[in-house]
Symmetry: C2
Subunit: 479 residues, 2 copies
Amino acid sequence: MSQSVHVRPFRDLLDSGGVVEDPERIATYTMDQRQLFTGSTFAVLKPATTQQVADIVRLAAHYGIGIVPQGGNTSYCGGATPDASGRQVIVSLERMDRIREIDPVSMSISVDAGAILKNVQDAAAAAGLLLPLSLGAEASCRIGGNIGTNAGGLSVVRYGMTRDLLLGIEAVLADGTVVSDMRKLRKNNTGYDVKQCFVGSEGTLGIVTGAVLRLAPLPTRRATAWLKLAKDAPIAELLTLIHRESAYLLTTFEFMTSRSITLATEAITDPPSLGAGPGGAVLVEFASSSRHLDLDELMEAVLAEAIETGCVDDALLAQSGSQRTAMWRLRETIPEGEKRRNGSVKHDISVPLSSIQRFLDLAGSQVRSYDADLELSVYGHVGDGNLHYNVLVPRDVDRLEFTKRIESSLSLQLYDTAAALGGTFSAEHGVGRFKKHLLARYSDPGRIAAMRRIKTAFDPADIMNAGAIVCPMGGKSAS
Amino acid sequence: MSQSVHVRPFRDLLDSGGVVEDPERIATYTMDQRQLFTGSTFAVLKPATTQQVADIVRLAAHYGIGIVPQGGNTSYCGGATPDASGRQVIVSLERMDRIREIDPVSMSISVDAGAILKNVQDAAAAAGLLLPLSLGAEASCRIGGNIGTNAGGLSVVRYGMTRDLLLGIEAVLADGTVVSDMRKLRKNNTGYDVKQCFVGSEGTLGIVTGAVLRLAPLPTRRATAWLKLAKDAPIAELLTLIHRESAYLLTTFEFMTSRSITLATEAITDPPSLGAGPGGAVLVEFASSSRHLDLDELMEAVLAEAIETGCVDDALLAQSGSQRTAMWRLRETIPEGEKRRNGSVKHDISVPLSSIQRFLDLAGSQVRSYDADLELSVYGHVGDGNLHYNVLVPRDVDRLEFTKRIESSLSLQLYDTAAALGGTFSAEHGVGRFKKHLLARYSDPGRIAAMRRIKTAFDPADIMNAGAIVCPMGGKSAS
């Protein structure tokens, strides 16, 4: 079947704005976010309604054409990139970006899956509420992608992951069936919670077209502090103390090593003079929607306790909005700092909180044994046991080649260490195409068997994002 | 096949304590919690290990014997009761009740699925931590059942349902495959989160044998208040205010009507003199693990605001542990009060928070039109939009007959009203055998189709708790 035969039936379904065939425009959809791989497609389809999504899926199934659903194309794991065959069509949700409804009393927001995260945050804030999902890609990633990867980010310690925020869903299955359950209920125990299957499924079970998300009261007060850690400070114990003594007001506990801070500092024109202690630094934030709590007073009391334990050498409490912004800017510029250097090989590790220190020790030894000249940028959402354990690409080497080499050698050692500590090779970035071999390597066989059953149940012909995560039973590869 | 042929192979698998065949002892397992239905079985099997569970399942599959998994047998919906055929065997997890591990730094607890909820709470508390799952049946219900029904209860507004607490799982699938994923990770985005399928599945997809649950810091301070509501007080708006101004310290928001309070009062020998206002009453609790927050001061400030709005006629702040206990006792004795009267027909309604008042108005009219003499006991976890909207069985009528009559007439009217408001017929009690027809009546067909796909994927031969929730595709009935 030639490409024109592929695309013709879709043209009949969609208006002219709904089919992209120009190779230059297509190119922005076929390269993955980290520019590690470029796939191929004959067209990008942009449905405007759920009905059009269902029609596309039915047509694709009829012709045996694979579908790669795409939101903001910000996957770190090649989760939204077609393969090289050119036989998969991209279905971009970008035209389905409406805010459907905000219900301030129920504290919920209903949106199209193509809505950009930042726009949903803004719509919630305009109604005096908070969408408590915040991550680096928020200005371009879309809600459907957040659901597909169970996105985490910067306030999971308080509000949870995307899964914890999802109240309702609308999705199109691989046979065109529409699941429509856009209720905004906190509780609805009526059999299997079908929407859970889509969370973290990276477009392999169907296409999410709409979602209801829970909101929280908008914090009106924040207290933000920068903690310089003492040598060998036990991070998890510090977290335990701050978690307990802040009650439930802790929203952020972000760890950074000195090297990561330096990288960020170098990438900022007018950087704040915030450094790390020998054990690194932690950005801590409390937030509250109450007018009756003095958060600065609470933070001061908690910091005094933390300093008393000897874990913290020095603590700075932001005295103004601009000091707070400066602290956050430093934390959020780390990925950009890595990029300016020559990029990094990313390891999105998570271990039980009690094993963080042990992981840092063991992994550090592994890196030194592998190549004593390698430099690390280690930071992350330690409040959730999540470390971005990144190996910096040396300035003078080819980024792609270096990445391939590390990922086939040192990375596996690091993942082995995480696994031995009961951890995982992907805390919040997902599996996609890049980490499929890791899923096979590290997952319990019973769990993989169950995953393949789920895939088979929803998409036996492997139409939906084939190549990502797992293939159906009877499919071509073992995982 | 005679019953002895049924039971013989299981006897070979298990020690003598593992097979119950005595009809009198069996009888306590075959009657449902609400004593509405008695099923039949030829034996109760009590495996002591996960391996024995897997062996039982394989044997049952081989002989085509259906399995009904059972924890504490406290389902309100007949979720753990075999049918009348006598061909289903009960697999009780009661001998698998170990606490496997507590990790205070990771704030997690690993347990056998047969562990009694109260025992897990106690083990956590002994380590200075809180298992934030608390419900009426806690002294007898078991963790596997809590997972199977996604149990909610008294602190969902702060801590979420069982789903929100589940970090890891061990389960035996219908073909004997063991899924073993007992990691205690907050974040692990590596493909489909298989454990989510088991939450709310009521034993129809496999048998949960172990679980890792997340814990919270143990609250060291509590402030508890009893609010008497003004006439027509807008409950959801009051919740919004208290939720916002308590920041994240609100753990309980329990609504009660005057009738429910009276029933509880009559069932207590030395009842506290706590009544309702014209709009009912609300039990509010704040809890905190911090030594740096004065919760009484916060509660007083929040209550003053609430009174100012005119929603609240009067508010009593518990001044001692015994006052606090008295408030809780009144709330928790309501089900017992109903039972002593002559029981109730239960409706476990949930609606969006913004529709609570509207539901109460519409449902009240429906009840009055149906029979002006009927009395209601309405209370519930209104912080989650969950109302236990119970119709009291008149003293002089047969409870079973009355229940059947109401459930086939008035109940459907009430559920219709909930559904029209975007609500549900089962907030936290599940579906089981009793509410299967309601699932078919009220669920989106796409969602039902997806549920049947999931059932088919995990249990195509309908071995696991056949008769509850849905049957596989190609099965005997439509849902």
